[in-house]
């Protein structure tokens, strides 16, 4: 391991569209999935990551390098995460949350989930449906019944013009 040899160990990761990435082991083991492979000694050659495409993996590696360069300071890490996610569109965020889930990276998973949650918060139902492409398959009666059951959750939320 890196600490024993004195030189940083580099791992090679392969995305599902066959792109290869080099990343320092110390950064890559933020992913519990990769860490387990390293600990089991299966990280010698190329590590195939079948559920992550190259574009997303590049982004995740940027994050791994960025966050592992920050020493144990939760506030700085948080502001790095906020900045890292600030310019990502929903498609990228969706890919990243799937990748974070697959790679078992709880800090990225939490940050991306929080970011998506933040967009949905305090918004009207119609707005969320439109923005996230959710198809309303309730009958009007059913929808009214669900709304009535959770009536209190609509207090203080913008109402839809079309409802």
């Amino acid at each position: 391991m890196a600490a024993e040899t004195g030189t940083p160990t580099t791992l090679t990761l392969k995305s599902n569209d066959d792109e290869l990435f080099s990343v320092a082991e110390s950064a890559a083991i933020l992913s519990v999935t990769i860490r387990n492979m390293v600990e089991d000694g299966c990280a010698g050659g190329v590590i195939p990551l079948d559920n992550v495409d190259g574009k997303t993996l590049a982004s995740v590696i940027t994050y791994m390098n960025g966050i592992s360069a920050i020493p144990a300071d939760e506030e700085k890490k948080k502001s790095y995460r906020d900045k890292f996610l600030s310019d990502k569109d929903f498609e990228t965020l969706a890919d990243m949350v799937l990748a974070a889930n697959y790679l078992n990276m709880s800090c990225l998973m939490d940050a991306v989930s929080a970011k998506i949650a933040q967009v949905m918060e305090k918004k009207s139902v119609g707005w969320v449906r439109r923005k996230f492409g959710i198809e309303n398959d309730y009958t009007p009666e059913e929808e009214a019944a669900v709304k009535e059951e959770h009536k209190w959750t609509f207090e203080g939320v913008e109402t839809d013009d079309d409802n």
Binding site: V97, N101, V119, Y138, E155
Partner: protein
């Protein structure tokens, strides 16, 4: 009409506008490109994860989105947080008068909690937080019991139940007894609260034997806080508690004894009655916060606390109530050989010196950081008809002539909070800087709101800015060699001025420098 209002709103609120633009940028890109990824492409466990990051209200509202979303929120496993204060601003809009509003609110809150807890389907919940600050006497014990049983059934790791009322009203709700808790064991098939890591109870009366039972059945507990429990009398927090790092026992007015014997305990808060030293075996205790009569005893009867005082690295002393009689200067001082940071929070009168606190610095040879926060008691000002206040400050008065003379070379950081420019402050500040010649950083936080309408204060210092300049001038006089920098608009404080070892560069400091120079004695 509505749209117009929203536009206006956006114009007037640039932050909101920016947020919306960001959100739009986040989403429209994909919309235009015929959205290849929809949120419904994500698997349910990830959607539940996303819902877990919202407030309960927002999460529950998503049930109206579509059939798939209807039951998703019921599987939230991370955190359920109910806070009646949080909602106070949003709801109540339609309640005509405030009094009936609060009553309805109380009912509504209880109905809300009950509704959500009943519908929750997930097997586990990591943390359950319920803050119900408007309880008074209008509750059924069985309602609150059921919240606790929910926490038991969902095997929570973090549980907080806070029933405190701002004006100090104690609702006397009793935590379920051992028999009631045991009856739940059958249902969860494991010790009650066996997964608990953090437990915080505020204004909840819990029997000593229940605490004992819980500590025995929660081997993982890392944090325990019992505040304002009237049934707590003889409390034991004793090993084996291999994970207990932080403990707070505060404001338990009937407490007679407290025994703490926890090998791995690092941080402890005890505020309340004077009891014999609770620290039986706490070799790793380095951070201590004390308040109430016990804190008084720590300062003025040091021999009763010598078994543990020398191991403390961080110490916070809260002297928040006035004393009935004048306090005498003690012969001895606490042994604080390892102390690196000392924080004092004290009430004081506008005309009394607090030079006494220098002796605590003397008692801490390795002190690196010193913070003192003053709250002036304003009841004794000389207005016709005001009550004459006979109570004394909780520390002895020491005149400048009698103040201890010594030099402290380890003290590097000084924070002065609540200084408002009274004459009694100057000797303290001067002496403090004489004592600590190697100080590197000084922080001032001068409050304004609390004293705003006080005639005495108004006459002393005209404006916040004036006062800041005044302190800088004062510091320049005490220590002309200190390079200076004035920080403004630090968001977390009202008003901070800091003088530290950063070379002066900003032109805005010129006036202050000029002032400082003109104030210097030749």
């Amino acid at each position: 009409m509505k749209k117009h209002k929203a536009d206006l709103d956006r114009q007037q609120n640039p932050r909101k506008r920016k947020e919306e633009e960001e959100t739009d940028a986040l989403l429209t890109k994909k919309q235009n490109a015929a959205a290849t990824v929809k949120i419904d492409d994500l698997p349910e466990d990830i959607l539940i994860h996303i819902l877990s990051r919202m407030s309960i209200k927002d999460a529950v509202r998503t049930s109206v989105l579509s059939r798939r979303w209807r039951y998703l929120w019921m599987y939230i496993s991370q955190k359920l947080e109910f806070d009646d204060r949080y909602d106070r601003n949003i709801t109540l809009l339609d309640d005509a008068d405030e009094r009936s509003g609060i009553v309805i609110k109380r009912k509504k809150f209880k109905t809300w909690v009950k509704h959500i807890l009943k519908l929750h389907r997930g097997q586990r919940v990591d943390s359950l937080v319920i803050r119900f600050t408007n309880l008074r006497l209008r509750y059924l014990s069985s309602d609150i019991d059921s919240w606790i049983y929910f926490a038991v059934e969902k095997e929570v790791k973090l549980f907080e139940l806070n029933l405190s009322v701002e004006d100090g009203f104690h609702c006397s709700y009793k935590f379920p007894n051992i028999d009631k808790l045991r009856s739940r064991e059958v249902k969860v098939k494991s010790p009650v609260f066996g997964s608990l890591r953090s437990l915080r109870l505020v204004d909840v009366d819990i029997e000593d034997e229940v605490v004992k039972y819980l500590l025995a059945s929660c081997p993982c507990v890392e944090y325990l806080c019992i505040r304002a429990s009237n049934t707590t009398k003889n409390l034991e927090v004793v090993d084996p508690l291999p994970n207990l790092k932080e403990l707070e026992i505060s404001d338990c007015c009937n407490l007679e004894s407290l025994d703490i014997s926890a090998n791995n305990l690092v941080s402890c808060t005890y505020q309340g009655k004077k009891i014999r030293s609770p620290f039986k075996k706490t070799p790793n205790l380095t951070e201590l916060t004390l308040g109430g009569e016990f804190c008084h005893s720590f300062i003025f009867e040091p021999n009763k606390h010598s078994s543990y005082s020398a191991q403390l690295v961080k110490l916070v002393l809260n002297l928040k109530t006035m004393a009935p009689e004048r306090t005498n200067v003690p012969c001895d001082l606490p042994q604080l050989d390892s102390l690196k940071r000392l924080e004092l929070n004290t009430v004081t009168k506008t005309d009394e010196s607090f030079l006494f606190f220098l002796s605590l610095i003397k008692a801490s040879p390795n002190l690196h950081e010193f913070k003192i926060k003053l709250v002036y008691l304003l009841l004794d000002f000389r207005l016709p008809g005001s009550i004459r206040f006979v109570q004394r400050t909780p520390f002895p008065e020491v005149t400048p002539e009698n103040a201890k003379c010594f030099t402290h070379n380890n003290l590097k950081v000084i924070e002065l909070v609540g200084f408002i420019g009274l004459a009694t402050e100057t000797p303290f500040i001067q002496r403090l800087f004489n004592v600590a010649p190697l100080v590197e950083k000084v922080l001032f936080d001068t409050p304004i709101g609390y004293y705003r309408f006080h005639p005495l204060i108004d006459s002393v210092a005209a404006s916040e800015e004036c006062r800041n300049v005044m302190y800088v001038v004062l510091l320049m006089n005490v220590r002309p060699s200190l390079p200076r920098k004035v920080e403004k608009d630090t968001p977390s404080y009202n008003n901070i001025s800091s003088v530290d070892n950063i070379l002066p560069s900003e032109t805005e400091n010129e006036n202050i420098n000029a002032l400082a120079n003109s104030g210097k004695p030749n």
